[in-house]
């Protein structure tokens, strides 16, 4: 019975959102505001259940799973940084949140340098160093180089650079076209998912 009521609620909310296609209306606004409200609660609950509780409260305050007292009490540092992040809530001390932001930005930047070199630059360049013994390989190498030339704005695009950039545009347009095709596919899939729910799960209840 609860699942039947739930399916009706879900169907009602689905139709309320779809009603926006006709025009903006109170049913859509209702669903939109409800969505924002439940999402906000979701964020609070998740922060507690998957961050603060298992990564701070359990190891630091309850001492679960931590043998070394240094490992236990050093967690005061990220706890303080986390609270500093929330200093944005109080305008007078909002600047303190920069300390927490700096911690995340510094670590992300450090990871960014090593990750991009090891994870993108080297393997992708290695993947482009192909024997020029097939048309596909030649197209691939030309495509990579001319795309890079197109995005190289430090020199004026004339002469050979202009010709390279011109070829690069052809590859970029082919790439954007392919991305558009795949994006259409993705969006239609979402619509299929919702209509599938309405036809299979909800209308099924009428039978």
């Amino acid at each position: 019975m609860t699942s039947v009521i739930g399916t009706w609620i879900a169907a009602g909310l689905t139709l309320a959102i779809f009603s926006f296609l006709y025009r903006d209306n109170p049913a859509y606004k209702f669903a939109e505001h409800l969505y924002v409200g439940v999402s906000a609660a979701f964020a609070v609950l998740y922060t507690w259940a998957f961050d603060i509780w298992p990564m701070l409260v359990e190891p630091m305050i309850l001492g679960r799973g931590v043998a070394d007292p240094v490992d236990r009490w050093i967690l005061i540092v990220p706890a303080c940084f986390g609270l500093l992040m929330l200093a944005r809530w109080i305008p007078r001390v909002a600047w303190l949140s920069r300390w927490a932001i700096s911690l995340t930005v510094g670590i992300a930047a450090g990871l960014g340098i090593t990750g991009q070199i090891q994870g993108i630059l080297l393997p992708q360049i290695r993947g482009t160093l192909l024997p020029m013994n097939s048309i596909d390989n030649i197209i691939l190498v030309v495509g990579v180089i001319t795309t890079l030339v197109y995005f190289y704005f430090s020199v004026e695009h004339k002469g050979l650079v202009k010709a390279g950039a011109r070829i690069g545009v052809v590859f970029i347009m082919a790439s954007f076209g392919a991305s558009f095709g795949y994006t259409v596919m993705a969006r239609i899939s979402l619509l299929i998912g919702r209509l599938n729910f309405l036809v299979t799960d909800w209308l099924h209840l009428f039978r």
Partner: protein
């Protein structure tokens, strides 16, 4: 104080992470792991940042009976329902995502349809936009259009029904010219990210402090 300490924190954490990449042995490896755990913990708090503003604004709207206060009440009701369901799930089932808990009920019958339908609307908008704006005005636009058409047909079963070579052409586009351009773009992004990360660590890029 307001700028120097954040810049120092960024510099130290960034340098430690880079150094520990090259020297993963102790004590550097342990330092890296500790920083990564801290990052994970602190990042979780960012989820909360918007919530305060959102709730405060809507409670004010309700209290002052401002225009649209009814919708603010709906938002608050949604928040309370989901929050209570979550607390009950945690108390009774020791887990937020226990399948028979009230939180999963709210998730399945409210959050999923709302979010999924919100994104499903994009199918209609992309169709309308394609009809109105997708014009073969230039050679580049024509190329984009032709590629999109081949991919859209070749990637679904009807493509093979129309012409059995279409899926193979689609595969080739994805694996050769499309991939080549994407590789060029990603290499460019990688170079940009490295340069930007260095600027951030060295304190030359400070926009994140504003």
């Amino acid at each position: 104080m307001k700028k120097e300490i954040p810049l120092l924190i960024t510099f130290l954490t960034g340098v430690i992470i880079v150094v520990t990449f090259f020297i993963p042995h102790q004590p550097f490896g342990g330092m890296q792991q500790r920083l990564l755990i801290w990052y994970s913990i602190v990042l979780g708090f960012t989820l909360l940042l918007g919530v305060d503003n959102l709730l405060r604004g809507n409670i004010r709207r309700m209290a002052r009976r401002q225009a649209g206060w009814g919708y603010a009440a709906v938002l608050m009701a949604g928040f309370v329902i989901c929050f209570v369901a979550g607390v009950v799930s945690l108390a009774r089932h020791n887990s937020l995502i226990a399948l028979n808990g009230p939180f999963m009920y709210v998730y399945t019958y409210m959050i999923v349809p709302l979010q999924a339908t919100m994104f499903a609307l994009l199918a209609f908008f992309i169709a309308s936009a394609a009809y109105r704006a997708f014009r073969a005005r230039t050679l580049e636009a024509t190329l984009l259009l032709i590629t999109a058409a081949i991919v859209m047909l070749g990637r679904v079963p009807v493509g093979a029904e129309l012409w059995d070579k279409l899926p193979q052409i689609q595969d080739w586009i994805m694996e050769v010219p499309q991939m080549a351009a994407k590789r060029g773009i990603f290499i460019g992004i990688a170079l940009g990210t490295i340069a930007m990360s260095l600027r951030v660590i060295l304190g030359l890029e400070r926009t994140y402090l504003s």
